[in-house]
């Protein structure tokens, strides 16, 4: 029995319990033979208040238990409960079809959910199942377990609770009359209880004992009495030791799989997993959690606790990827002073190593960052992402330390020292929501830029809303506030104007405060002012993006997705098939391409397409072409081959196994047959071939085995994901795999046109940051235009809300935040600018600027009236350019985010700037010349007081070693000269020159090492290493070598290496080339997957300090991209002042 301290009420209801609790005879109810187990007549209790009611029951067998609740006005609610088996069910699990008997209680009717009494098998890996399933069999079956069902009254009716977990509600204005429960012959009930409801308008005490997994403190006793009580004025249901929650037992079990799914982030509170202590609660603005806890003194345990509020997404196993109000509660170790939000409220007697010790029992006030999950709080009704059909609810749980790099919402496995004795959620005194006037606060044409804030008081008081507007760099532009005096229950709206003097992207931060400047929550959003839509391009526009249309918790409504597409100037989409071009006409959208429709099994033994396959494809295409009449291309192959860099590009003839050769020849046959089929039957469709990541591999392999592109295809399709690769870096995973495809074509005698597949680059802002994401997407688009792409489909229109967000690929590459927030990222505005400025363009030429790392493209804008457009950018740093025109004119300069200024030429010259963030010029006339006049890299300079470990000004302190460390197909030992020279800017320094001995393919680097004869120790714990390099725009690579405090050597040359090009010489002149040692502390972040430093034998990273700097490897290139063709460079680099700093 629950020991609720309810005073008079308790005596009253206990007395009543004795009167009414007796076994009732069997009778027929709901069409089956059943016995009445218990009936509560609430009116007979004659209470002055509406009580809560609870009773425990078990089905006792396969027969259904029926629950009937009736109100005084005759409203009826029924619940049926049946014990069932479960199938393993896990994706690609060998236990998928295994039957686990008597595992689930299926609730139907007023409660609608599956309650896993034995753990839900699909939430475990096969290995875990093998280890645990014998133990599961020993657990009570679903029919044997007593389940506690409760009904609690609230303002609008009643809430259902199962074993302390919220299970839905029914709304009524009437009081309960009866609660009747019936069941089969072995069904039983016990522990009937009528009690005062523990929750009130503000506090929700959670009966944590029903969720907790006791562990280390199972035997502990606490100085507070278990049961309902107030602690420091906060109502709690306090647990004793054997019903307390040991958070070290909380673990992930099966997590991410198949790239796009995640069992951990798909859990429910009813999964029956001992490794989760997750409880569902009614949806409300819980802004605080009050936690009663003790800290396990075991030194192996981690003194950290995560307190979490969210709503996990269980329906399709894609999981919830974002929208977590996660906060850390640092736990005070014995003897440590607790933080100010923690007070001692009692003691816990705990046995550790056979000794009884007394530990403090703490009460913590934990603020939940609700601003991270506002969209879940604003959502009304049943969440379609949840399989629990219980209406509005949230999930609350504890876990330990969380991970990084996409695991921000996953436990690391480090066991938490937290042990929970009770938790109560507190509702905010007032609620806050935003009502968008336009999806995502993105304003075009005459749309009035504003957003409506709505404040609703739960308690009377004065509430202040502060909003701050920033530019893309985070610089504050405006700060305003509004205070509202509200009575309890009052709701008031306030319209916030978002007019700004300039077009562009703006950050928008809200702080919502109660009286006394007490923060209730803060929330970060953004808005975009796009100005007039001057685009003239229609369906022929190359610009498009991906739209999931529902899956992955994405936008389903065409009017919302359409609004975003129209405003970004994107005309093409994949992958939705629900809406026709006609239905999407208001937003000028059509499909980018029809998909790859054949498969290898469509080939007959004679090597022809089967008639059945041809009919299938013809039928599909006819239907699709009717739906999307402006879609004029079709794919041949899609993700159909490997994606290694073809060895031909290293000048090496590859070898094949018989199986590989057979596979390639079959693909040649299929591609040829498919192309002939399309040419014959659908000649209006252009054929996009390849579409397999960087596509160079499939192109190389199929050309080698006889595929003839000249008559069979119109383009090679790039499906390169880009991810965190710098766009201009020539790599099979990067945008500039384009060059590889074209070079492979040339090797086999073909000039291959290239375009983008409907899946193209995806740049995760989670890893890159929002500004760099915008820059990379813009440059992806510009590289496409530089190569005359007819399709440019980067990114996806909005981030997914699912676990796919946390990968390095598509999920987090949105131009806006997740639905329904849809706040624009800078990339949205950057794409909108690109599509507006480069509307209806055709490349005139790649303009030489005098630098191979300052790019300029010149376009004809085939608009009415026609004019000329330029795009400029650098992969690194800033550049000043002078444009020489044949006469005086006025040009328009446009930055990445659409801000414009007019520039009058002087002497036919105009000076403009550019950087990694592209800029544009619109002109009525073409320029004769574009020249770089200045390069700067101010953001890379070492900090003031930087003390180099070695000045690199004395040759005798260094030696050149050309070992075999990097010997391979794409990097060969080079012949270098190392000398000491006097540089006009830097004085004495070292210079390294590559001596040309033979012709090598452009992608092959030649390397050597320059090493200090005596490695030099760097004091302290430096997080960043760097060296001044006089660059040659060669895309050569610098690898640092250091020695750690344990004598290990490490090189900055790890796997999945340096996708961001931080070690690359993609600049001219002197620049301080930096790389992280400790990426957590360094300003240079590791945006490549995997560890970037590798040792010569074991060891952990970051290194043990102190470190010594021992030298550099230089992988020199002879040619660099311009960004369409490879050009010769001068293979000389200079070095000065190597060092490391913190």
């Amino acid at each position: 029995m629950r020991n609720h301290n309810l005073g008079q009420g308790k005596a009253e209801v206990t007395h009543l319990f004795c009167l009414f609790f007796f076994l009732l005879p069997s009778f027929t109810l709901f069409g089956q033979s059943a016995k009445k187990l218990y009936q509560e007549d609430f009116s007979a209790l004659n209470l002055s208040y509406s009580p809560s009611f609870g009773i425990s029951f078990k089905t006792g067998g396969p027969e259904t238990v029926q629950i009937l609740v009736e109100t005084e006005k005759g409203e009826k609610k029924t619940v049926s409960v049946r014990a069932m088996d479960q199938k393993g069910g896990g994706y690609q699990s060998k236990f998928a079809e295994t039957l686990y008997p008597d595992s689930i209680l299926k609730f139907q009717g007023a409660i609608n959910l599956d309650y896993y009494i034995r753990p839900r098998v699909k939430r475990y890996t096969d290995k875990q199942i093998e280890e645990k399933q014998e133990g599961w069999k020993k657990m009570p079956g679903a029919s044997e377990k007593f389940v506690r069902i409760e009904i609690h009254p609230d303002k609008s009716g009643y809430t259902w609770w199962l074993d302390g977990r919220y299970a839905g509600r029914f709304d009524t204005t009437n009081r309960l009359k009866n609660f009747t429960i019936t069941g089969g012959p072995k069904a039983e009930v016990k522990d009937r209880e009528v009690f005062l409801t523990p929750e009130d308008d503000i506090f929700l005490p959670i009966n944590y004992a029903l969720v907790a997994q006791p562990g280390a403190m199972r035997e502990a006793s606490i100085s507070l009495s278990p049961g309902f009580q107030k602690v420091k004025g906060i109502p709690f249901i306090v647990s004793d030791g054997n019903r307390s929650g040991d958070i070290s037992l909380v673990k992930e079990m099966r997590g991410s799989f198949a790239l796009e799914c995640d069992e951990y982030l798909s859990r429910t509170a009813f999964d029956g997993m001992p490794e989760s202590q997750l409880v569902s609660v009614p949806q409300a603005f819980y802004y605080k959690a009050w936690v009663l806890f003790a800290v396990d003194p075991d030194p192996k345990k981690d003194p950290i606790l995560t307190v979490r509020l969210t709503r996990l997404a269980s329906r399709s196993t894609v999981g919830r990827g974002t929208a977590f109000a996660d906060t850390y509660l640092p736990l005070p170790r014995p003897g440590e002073k607790p933080s100010p939000n923690i007070v001692q409220v009692g003691t816990v007697k705990h046995k550790a190593e056979s000794k009884e010790i007394e530990l403090p029992l703490y009460l913590a006030e934990v603020t939940l960052p609700l601003g991270e999950m506002m969209d879940l709080l604003w959502q009304k009704g049943q969440d379609e992402a949840s399989e629990l059909r219980i209406g509005e609810f949230l999930d609350f749980e504890f876990l330990g330390r969380r991970g990084t790099k996409g695991r921000e919402h996953k436990p690391t496995g480090s066991p938490s020292a937290g042990n929970i004795f009770g938790v109560t959620l507190e509702k905010a005194p007032a609620e806050f929501r935003l009502e968008q006037r336009q999806p995502g606060n993105i304003f075009l044409n005459e749309e009035k830029p504003e957003v409506q804030a709505v404040v609703k008081a739960n308690l009377p008081g004065k509430y202040t809303l502060i909003w701050t507007i920033t530019d893309v760099k985070g610089k504050q532009l405006q700060r305003r506030e509004k205070t509202l005096s509200l009575v309890s229950g009052q709701e008031e709206s306030y319209v916030i104007p978002l007019n700004m003097a300039e077009l562009g992207y703006y950050g928008l931060k809200f702080e919502f405060l109660a009286e006394g400047k007490k923060e209730i929550l803060s929330h970060k959003g953004s808005f975009a002012l796009l100005g007039a839509d001057t685009r003239q391009a229609g369906y022929e526009s190359p610009y498009g993006s991906w739209w999931f249309d529902g899956p992955h918790l994405s936008i389903r409504q065409p009017e919302i997705a359409g609004s975003l597409y129209l405003k970004a100037g994107l005309r093409k989409f994949a992958y939705s098939n629900r809406y026709t071009e006609e239905e999407l006409a208001p937003w000028k959208m059509t499909k980018s391409s029809f998909p790859w429709l054949f498969r290898l099994s469509d080939l007959t033994e004679e090597g022809k397409l089967s008639e059945e396959a041809k009919q299938r494809v013809a039928n599909y295409l006819k239907e699709q072409m009717a739906r999307y009449p402006h879609c004029n291309s079709v794919l041949i192959f899609h993700e159909s081959h490997g994606n290694n860099t073809p060895l031909e590009l290293a000048g090496v003839t590859p070898t094949f196994t018989d199986q590989q050769e057979k596979d390639c020849k079959k693909k040649v046959l299929l591609a040829t047959q498919a192309a002939e089929f399309y040419r014959q039957n659908f000649p209006q469709l252009k054929i996009i071939f390849g579409n397999t990541s960087g596509s160079a591999h499939i192109v190389a392999d199929l050309l080698r085995f006889g595929f003839k592109p000249e008559k069979n295809i119109d383009y090679v399709g790039m499906e390169t994901p880009g991810q965190t690769f710098m766009p201009e870096l020539v790599d099979t995973g990067s945008t500039m795999a384009i060059w590889m495809v074209r070079e492979i074509g040339r090797m086999y005698g073909y000039q291959l046109p290239v375009t983008s597949c409907y899946e193209y680059t995806s740049r995760p802002s989670r890893v890159l940051g929002e500004e760099r994401q915008a820059e990379y997407y813009t440059r992806d688009g510009l590289l496409g235009l530089a190569h005359r792409f007819d399709h440019i489909n980067p990114g996806l229109i909005a981030d997914v809300g699912s676990s796919y967000f946390n990968t390095y690929i598509y999920g987090g590459g949105g131009f806006t935040e997740r639905y329904p927030l849809l706040y624009p990222k800078p990339s949205f505005v950057a794409m909108a600018t690109l599509t507006r400025v480069l509307d209806k363009v055709k490349l005139r030429r790649v303009v030489p600027t005098g630098s191979l790392t300052v790019y300029a493209l010149e376009f004809d804008r085939q608009r009415t009236p026609a004019d000329i457009a330029y795009a400029f950018w650098t992969p690194r740093g800033q550049a000043q350019l002078t444009l020489n025109f044949p006469g005086e004119s006025e040009i328009i300069f446009v930055d990445t985010y659409g801000q414009e200024k007019k520039i009058r030429t002087s002497g036919g010259k105009a000076s403009v700037s550019t950087s990694t963030s592209p800029t544009y010029v619109l002109s009525s006339l073409p320029a004769n010349q574009v020249l770089v006049t200045k390069r700067t890299y101010s953001e890379d300079a070492p900090p003031p007081g930087f003390n180099p470990a070695n000045r690199m000004d004395k040759l005798e302190e260094w030696r050149k070693i050309t070992d075999y460390s990097f010997s391979g197909h794409f990097s060969r030992r080079g012949n270098f000269l190392l000398r000491q020279v006097n540089d006009p800017e830097k004085g004495p320094c070292l210079e390294l020159e590559l001596q040309k001995t033979e012709e090598l393919p452009a992608l092959v680097a030649e390397y050597t090492a320059i090493k200090l004869k005596k490695p030099i120790e760097v004091p302290g714990k430096p997080h960043t290493i760097g060296v001044w390099v006089k660059g040659n725009s060669s895309w050569s690579k610098i690898i640092f070598e250091i020695e750690d405090g344990e004598g290990r050597l490490w090189r900055s040359s790890g796997g999945y290496h340096d996708w961001a090009g931080d070690l690359t010489v993609n600049f001219d002149g002197w620049r301080f080339l930096r790389f992280f040692i400790d990426s957590e502390r360094s300003p240079i972040k590791n945006v490549s997957p995997g560890r970037q430093w590798e040792s010569n034998g074991g060891g952990a990273w970051p290194p043990s300090y102190p470190i010594k700097i021992s030298g550099l490897y230089v992988l020199m290139k002879r040619k660099a991209i311009d960004p369409v063709e490879m050009r010769e460079v001068v293979p000389i680099l200079r070095f000065k002042d190597i060092g490391a700093y913190e």
Binding site: V932, V981, G1069
Partner: protein, 212 residues
């Protein structure tokens, strides 16, 4: 000059180049004399920190703790590509012990498979074996070292490994004595020091025989 882009700037500065010295020697592929480690240090890169660096009369050396010295880090030095090189090192037996020196490992092979060739050096004998050799047999007779190596005395060893030959020499004063010299199967590359406890090593150097 302002309008010239930096690469051109480098070219022009080269025309007025003031070269203060050059270094073109790069035949040394690996060097280790342990002088970068203080006495008593246990370098993590060798034997995962089990061995100790000691110093006597200013000479730094490594007290071999047994097992593979380079372990998983052996290829850090690009050693899988070494196939034509001279390995020099100083060896001192402190008790009866054996050095098993891998001199060909992995890398390129021809007709026959083997895991590695190793040179075994004891105070009294040098022998060479192909480990896990399949499909053929080799006659690789051991050679005695006469006089036997003294315990507590440093010896300079030089092992020359080419595509089809292994030669083991010891320097006796200024005289180089060939202890073992024979043709072996083609292939291989790379080194690692393995052995029992009872010897010290220092001044390890690998020099490529052909200039790059």
């Amino acid at each position: 000059m302002k309008k010239l882009w930096p690469a051109l700037g480098i070219l022009i500065s080269l025309l007025n180049l003031e070269v203060l010295g050059t270094d073109s020697s790069d035949r040394i592929l690996w060097q280790e004399n342990f002088s970068r480690f203080p006495a008593g240090f246990r370098p993590g890169c060798y034997h995962d920190g089990k061995g100790e660096v000691l110093v006597e009369n200013g000479k730094h050396f490594y007290r071999f703790p047994g097992g593979f010295m380079l372990g998983s880090g052996w290829n850090y030095y690009g050693a899988s590509h070494w196939k034509n090189y001279v390995l020099r090192f100083q060896l001192r037996f402190t008790s009866k012990a054996s050095l098993y020196l891998v001199v060909k490992r992995g890398g390129w092979r021809e007709k026959f498979n083997y895991l590695w060739y190793y040179v075994t050096i004891t105070p009294a004998q040098v022998s060479v074996n192909a480990h896990n050799l399949t499909d053929t047999k080799e006659d690789l007779p051991p050679r005695k070292i006469e006089p036997v190596l003294e315990t507590g005395r440093w010896y300079d060893f030089e092992i020359k490994v080419t595509a089809r030959n292994i030669q083991v020499c010891v320097l006796d004063g200024k005289e180089k004595r060939i202890l073992w010299n024979q043709e072996v199967l083609a292939g291989g590359g790379g080194i690692d020091f393995h052995g029992s406890v009872g010897f010290d090593l220092t001044n390890i150097e690998v020099e490529e025989l052909e200039s790059k």
